[in-house]
């Protein structure tokens, strides 16, 4: 093939351009630490990366939802625990009150303590998370019970509803995070009202009332057990979600991030090739026959 000076020149330029382009691509990768910078770099991987990134965002949201749900379950657990203590004290008073030898003033003192216990129990039922009532179903703006008038332990009708508040805690996984007060606190409140009525009437506390207290206590315990189970499930879900987040992050990183060792090795290779092509071209282009004629 006949080679002209212009061909040498063009070939030199073309190979320099190719080397510079490859060099700049790998430099871009190293400095951004990203293997993929635009969809055309690898359409399939970029497509997967977009989906993985979306899944990752969703997982983050589930974790936030779990944090929110945990506030509810821990508040419920505290409230139900305190309610159990209240009922425990009420039962002690009831056992004392069943004794027929008590004086009227003793009974009156005990009745007023029971009234305070009833108020405290209503207080627990009116537990709020943020500015929302936890035990009112969907009626989160309304307290489940209004306070009884002074001197009375009678409780108002349940003001909430049976609405189940659902938290999204995983892909296609939901969990109810609230308990309506009428099924949780209702029997215990009724039992306290009965106990207060028995004591106020000046007669020994009836065995039926004590049974009622026991039934109320077991409903509260069942509620607390349910709350504990929910807290466990939240915790387990959180752990497995965090695992999923880690593996999604790893996947995304594999798709998008550059392998630094490999990239830097390639970078120095490219630099060497570029330098070599510069030197070779500088040597080739310079002389022609013209340089050697007198």
């Amino acid at each position: 093939m006949r080679i002209t000076n212009l061909m040498l020149h063009q070939q030199a330029l073309a190979s320099l351009a190719t080397n510079v382009e490859a060099l700049s691509r790998i430099q871009e990768q190293v400095s951004s630490s990203k293997r993929l910078l635009r969809p055309s770099d690898n359409p399939t991987d970029v497509r997967s990366a977009v989906q993985v990134r979306d899944a990752l965002a969703e997982l983050d949201q589930f974790l936030r939802n779990i944090a929110t749900a945990e506030r509810s379950t821990s508040a419920a657990d505290t409230a139900l625990g305190a309610a159990g203590d209240i009922l425990q004290r009420a039962r002690e008073l009831a056992i004392q009150g069943a004794n027929g030898t008590l004086s009227a003033s003793d009974r009156a003192t005990m009745a007023s303590e029971v009234e305070q216990l009833a108020r405290a129990l209503v207080g627990q039922a009116r537990t709020k998370v943020g500015d929302q009532y936890l035990f009112s179903g969907f009626q989160t703006a309304t307290a489940p019970y209004t306070e009884a008038p002074a001197g009375s332990a009678a409780v108002s009708a349940y003001q909430g509803d049976g609405g189940a508040i659902v938290a999204r805690i995983g892909p296609a996984a939901t969990m109810v995070i609230n308990l309506p007060a009428d099924t949780t606190f209702g029997p215990a409140l009724a039992a306290l009202a009965q106990l207060h009525a028995d004591l106020s009437a000046g007669m020994p506390v009836q065995a039926a009332t004590i049974n009622q207290l026991d039934a109320g206590q077991s409903v509260l315990l069942a509620g607390r057990a349910l709350t504990g189970a929910r807290a466990n499930r939240l915790e387990n879900t959180q752990v497995s979600l965090e695992d999923s987040v880690l593996s999604a992050q790893r996947l995304l990183s594999n798709l998008v991030d550059v392998d630094m060792t490999q990239a830097i090795t390639e970078l120095s290779q490219r630099q060497a090739v570029y330098q070599a092509s510069l030197e070779v071209n500088a040597r080739i282009i310079q002389p022609s026959l013209i340089d050697h004629l007198r």
Binding site: R38, V50, D60, Q61, V166, R168, L293
Partner: protein, 469 residues
């Protein structure tokens, strides 16, 4: 018997021929870097020999040579290679244009950085989850409305970017046809000049080089068919119509096609029928690829808005009233016009999060809308919104990558062809330098012959017949 002065003329011819050869070498050397220049060669022929006049046979041996002359100066060029380069240039021009335009489209979907529409869409679904978790929170509602507004802005921003790219293509079409018309009139002018030179029997080497260069440029923009005519002109056909014929050039302009899109047309309004080159690539990218991206963006916007609106209408707002449309958009132009309904935008309490009226803690509808994230709303129930967006990104990436690869391959093909042409027609300085020495020596030798004849004549004229003087 020949004249004593006969040889002097022969030597003079050698002198003149060598000078012309040197001049050609000078011309080649001067144009070593001129684009489109083909090296020229002066063709030497021996001048017609002289037969001594005689009635029968002169008695002298043979014919006597009369020296040398430059018969023609031709350019070294392979016309077939020119045709190949022109047809491959059209393909190269087309792919390079696609590559450049699609690279611009890629900036509309800045993935996998995560700063694209997909992330905004994800945050939108997240905001619904926050409302579902706490429907009575005015903060969560306000955040949702803000995210929804961002989503609308992002959709319309992306749609606007695609529209700007389409407008940019229209501008390039205007420029492209202007360049074609300009090149065509230059070719027509050169045709006329070349014709003049041909009539007088010469080769218009340099003018033909210039015309080839113009035709190469033209071929990148539109595919051309060439018909060389006997008078030295070349007829240039574009899509079967003569763009250049003799010294007349036709103007190319732009006009609307059936669907109102700008396309290259002739001045009488008929469309230029082209399938390769830059202009056809521009039209194709705009009408096929940009239009398809735009349609998919519209589908995504409308799909999300419709699904959200359908669920939202079944819900109840904070005041217990039934939900209205959450998003509004203009059908057929969904992405560009998607926005949160004005009423909801100004009053987030109107977000219908509840499944029943009068339940401030009820976020079932908000939850159901958040669940749309995993709902297979697109592609006949096979793709979620995120999948659909990811396929759009993948589609744009694939198109762009294909164009980049094809442009690179095609530029290799034309590069090789151009190298071959350069190998044939290019000026080699070494070659010219070697020739220069050759011609210089020939010139010196011819001059030496003249000196010899001069000395001979000196002997004859000045030194002969002087015996006894």
């Amino acid at each position: 018997m020949s004249s004593a002065f006969f040889g002097l003329n022969t030597a003079l011819r050698g002198l003149v021929a060598s000078q012309q050869m040197l001049e050609t070498a000078a011309h080649n050397t001067a144009n070593a870097n001129t684009p489109g220049f083909s090296r020229q060669r002066a063709q030497l022929v021996a001048t017609p020999p002289y037969t001594y006049p005689a009635f029968n046979r002169s008695g002298l041996p043979g014919q006597i040579g009369t020296g040398v002359a430059v018969a023609t100066i031709t350019r070294v060029r392979d016309a077939f290679l020119d045709l190949q380069i022109q047809s491959q240039s059209s393909i190269e021009g087309g792919w390079a244009t696609r590559r450049d335009e699609l690279a611009k489209v890629e900036s509309v979907v800045p993935e996998p950085s995560g700063s694209g529409l997909g992330t905004i869409l994800g945050r939108f679904w997240d905001a619904w989850q926050e409302v579902a978790a706490d429907p009575s929170s005015s903060v969560a509602r306000a955040a949702l409305v803000e995210q929804a507004r961002s989503l609308g802005i992002r959709f319309s921003g992306d749609a606007a970017q695609l529209a700007t790219l389409a407008t940019g293509i229209d501008d390039q079409l205007h420029q492209g046809v202007a360049t074609v018309s300009d090149l065509a009139s230059q070719v027509a002018t050169l045709n006329a000049q070349i014709q003049q030179v041909q009539i007088s029997g010469d080769h218009a080497n340099d003018l033909e080089d210039q015309r080839n260069l113009l035709l190469d440029k033209l071929a990148q923009i539109v595919p051309i068919t060439l018909h060389p005519e006997a008078d030295g002109t070349v007829t240039v056909l574009v899509g079967g119509t003569d763009l250049v014929s003799g010294n007349r050039a036709r103007a190319m302009t732009t006009g609307p096609n059936g669907s109102g899109q700008l396309i290259p047309t002739w001045t009488d309004g008929t469309a230029v029928s082209i399938s390769g080159g830059q202009l056809a690539a521009l039209v194709d990218v705009r009408d096929r690829q940009l239009a398809s991206y735009r349609t998919r963006l519209d589908t995504l916007a409308a799909g999300v808005a419709d699904a959200v609106n359908a669920l939202h209408a079944t819900g109840f707002d904070a005041a217990g009233n039934p939900g209205s449309a959450f998003f509004t958009y203009t059908a057929g132009n969904a992405a560009a016009t998607l926005s949160v309904s004005a009423a909801i935008a100004s009053n987030p309490a109107l977000v219908a999060a509840a499944g029943a009226p009068g339940q401030p803690g009820n976020g079932t509808i908000a939850g159901a809308i958040a669940d749309l994230r995993t709902g297979r709303l697109f592609s006949s129930g096979t793709q979620t919104a995120s999948d659909f967006y990811a396929s759009l990104v993948g589609g744009i990436g694939t198109d762009s990558r294909q164009a980049t690869e094809m442009a690179a391959n095609q530029s290799l093909v034309t590069g090789h062809l151009r190298q071959r042409r350069e190998s044939i027609s290019g000026v080699s300085l070494d070659e010219e330098a070697a020739d220069m020495i050759r011609f210089q020596h020939a010139y010196a030798a011819a001059a030496r012959v003249i000196t010899t004849f001069d000395e001979m004549l000196d002997t004859l004229i000045n030194k002969t017949g002087v015996v006894g003087r």
